[in-house]
């Protein structure tokens, strides 16, 4: 569709400013600020109940805004109905009309617009071509597979030629194999159309694989906005660190014993001392800190680094990876992920090591202290 020339500042397609929403006095969205540029694929991700679907429905015009502003293409749309906002939405259940053929389902928005028949035909067949639904146009949605229904729902969004596509957990009804296929198909579609897409999911894999920009939401607030690798390598706080990455990051509690321009030392109690090579202010000394270690950063045979002896209780062998779960003295479970199929066994001590430069550090408020390498 629209391409950008180098140097041209990309247009802001959607702006949310101090957006709030309460249901019967309970705040669900507690002040969200966000800027989405034209052509971006933005994913809202967060645990269930974090308000991500509500936020999407507010942008769509299905939920009223309590306070704040939604601006689409330079125009405040708070009080406009969905159709005047230039958005199209794909619902979790696909929301196909069971009594209409695939053709009529895709044509529905055009019928509402009372477009002449020949234009309807052109636009529906164009959408059907893009989505490879040409041979299914006369069928009823009930006879289609999950993936095909999903494509019909997307077709109904495409024919409107909206500025922004909104997706509400569109893959959650599909089985794992089909979900992986549809992820690729959606990314391909985004490339082909070049349209702005906002996508809600609770699945971090979908977020990491498809997004240009991930918005991590928690309890009605944005925890962090960034590219997938930004969030993975440089989580701004403990919540994002724990949410992005699978298996989850390990958190070890300790007390800061020394901090200067060269490193921060944390006493992890029975697990020993770890010194992270990053600048820290002496004010940290005496504070309770948490060291975050990603399971995939642990290794069995590397020399040096921070060393830790664990006794795995459960071992999962996936062929490409091996995951070991070991209890810690404080009752938590420590997870380690190794490549391939290393010689580890249940209830046998192993020594693992991690490069302290790769570790994350969080203060008492859960905010990141310095950055991991």
């Amino acid at each position: 569709m629209r391409a950008f020339f180098p140097g041209e500042r990309p247009l802001s397609e959607l702006t949310l400013s101090s957006l709030k929403k309460s249901f019967a006095g309970t705040a669900v969205i507690k002040g969200v600020d966000l800027d989405v540029t034209q052509g971006e694929f933005v994913v809202f991700v967060g645990p269930s109940g974090c308000g991500k679907s509500t936020l999407l429905r507010m942008i769509a015009g299905l939920e009223e805004v309590t306070s704040g502003e939604i601006v689409i293409a330079g125009k405040t749309v708070n009080d406009l109905p969905p159709v005047k906002r230039g958005i199209a939405m794909v619902f979790q259940s696909y929301a196909l009309y069971p009594h209409m053929s695939v053709y009529e389902n895709i044509a529905f928005p055009l019928r509402v617009e009372k477009l002449p028949e020949d234009q309807v035909r052109t636009r529906v067949s164009e959408a059907a071509r893009v989505l490879q639904l040409e041979s299914r146009l006369q069928q009823r949605p009930g006879t289609l597979s999950g993936g095909q229904r999903q494509r019909v729902a997307i077709g109904r969004a495409i024919v409107r030629e909206p500025k922004i596509f909104l997706f509400d957990e569109p893959l959650s009804n599909l089985d794992a194999a089909l979900r992986a296929d549809m992820r690729i198909e959606l990314t391909r579609l985004h490339k082909k159309l070049g349209a702005t897409m906002i996508y809600v999911t609770h699945d971090q894999v979908e977020a990491l694989t498809m997004a240009d920009k991930i918005v991590v939401l928690n309890a009605g607030q944005i925890e962090q906005v960034g590219s997938p690798l930004d969030l993975y390598h440089r989580p701004a706080n403990r919540f994002v660190a724990g949410f992005i990455g699978n298996p989850k990051m390990n958190f070890l509690q300790g007390t800061c014993t020394a901090a200067d321009g060269a490193g921060i030392t944390v006493d992890l109690g029975p697990l020993g001392l770890i010194t992270l090579p990053r600048a820290g202010s002496p004010a940290l000394v005496g504070q309770r800190l948490e060291v975050g270690i990603r399971p995939e950063h642990l290794s069995l045979d590397a020399p040096g680094g921070f060393r830790l002896t664990i006794r795995p209780g459960i071992i999962e062998r996936l062929g490409i990876h091996t995951v070991a779960y070991a209890p810690l003295p404080n009752g938590d479970t420590f997870v380690a992920l190794f490549d391939g199929d290393p010689p580890v066994a249940d209830d046998t001590d192993i020594e693992v090591s991690v490069d302290p430069a790769l570790c994350h550090l969080f203060d008492e408020a859960g905010l990141a202290v310095g950055l991991a390498a």
Binding site: P81, M89, Y97, F108, V112
Partner: protein, 286 residues
């Protein structure tokens, strides 16, 4: 042993015996009045009062089915009136109930809960309790002896059940369908007409059938009270014409009853699969 039945439907022989005995007992109880009525319609009148009474007609014939038209010339009109009153009541109920049920299923408005409760409470009154006030109302409005007087009170008493039935059906249509259409620019009435009504068609048919049965059953009491003109009488009241000064022409009375309900019964035999489909629709995810 493979009987082709699913495991959950397999029983021992004595269980089958108990099931069938139970079925025959129940059906016999329900159907015996109909059987007796039908046999009576076949007997000559003189046999009906003979002693000892014989259940099985010996010189049975369908004579009563022909003579009844001569004895009560308005019989055809009565049957027509019955169908007319029920049909008009059904149409009126549907026109009022479809939008109302949609509103109750989709909108949250103050008082919707108490209002639904009040509708349920109306069902606790039988029409008979209100007959005298209704009679006075009809008389002061000059509506006695009209079709209107027999249809409108019936409609009023049929609406609550119909709203409850249809609302339940509409609640099963996912709200996301409405929302998707709204996002695509459709208004409420467009959504009702193009999305909700076609999907709810089986449910609407169920409501129509239930309403028709209700109207057919309850027209007797309103017709008896609010109408005294023979040409407006429905069958249930018209049957009194077979009550002579000295005797009741039972065989023709029974024959007329069967002929009167025949059109409705034939209709139901054809529509009952929709009835069952409509009542169970959505019970299983398609």
């Amino acid at each position: 042993m493979s009987s082709g039945r699913p495991m959950i439907d397999r029983y021992r022989w004595y269980e089958y015996v108990a099931i069938y005995v139970g079925m025959f007992l129940f059906l016999g109880f329900v159907l015996s009045p109909f059987i007796e009525g039908f046999l009576v319609s076949l007997k000559p009148l003189t046999h009906l009062f003979s002693s000892p009474y014989r259940f099985w007609p010996e010189d049975g014939s369908f004579d009563a089915y022909f003579t009844m038209w001569e004895h009560v010339p308005l019989l055809g009109r009565y049957i027509f009136n019955s169908l007319l009153i029920s049909s008009l009541a059904t149409i009126a109920v549907l026109i009022l109930v479809v939008p109302a049920a949609y509103a109750f299923a989709r909108f949250e408005f103050p008082g919707s809960g108490p209002l639904l409760g009040a509708f349920l409470a109306v069902n606790m009154f039988s029409g008979a309790v209100l007959l005298i006030p209704l009679y006075r109302l009809m008389r002061s409005m000059g509506l006695l002896n009209t079709y209107f007087a027999m249809i409108v009170p019936g409609v009023a008493f049929l609406i609550p059940t119909a709203i409850w039935l249809l609302r339940t059906y509409l609640l099963r249509i996912p709200r996301e369908l409405d929302e998707a259409a709204w996002v695509d620019g459709a208004g409420r009435l467009y959504i009702l007409r193009r999305i909700v009504l076609p999907i709810a068609a089986p449910g609407i048919l169920v409501v129509a059938l239930a309403t028709f049965i209700g109207a057919y059953a309850q027209q007797f009491i309103f017709a008896l009270t609010f109408n005294s003109k023979s040409e407006f009488m429905p069958l249930a009241v018209g049957l009194f014409a077979f009550f002579g000064k000295e005797r009741v022409v039972w065989n023709e009375l029974m024959a007329a009853s069967f002929v009167g309900i025949a059109p409705v019964m034939i209709g139901f035999i054809f529509l009952q699969r929709y009835l069952v489909a409509g009542l169970t629709a959505g019970a299983v995810k398609q």
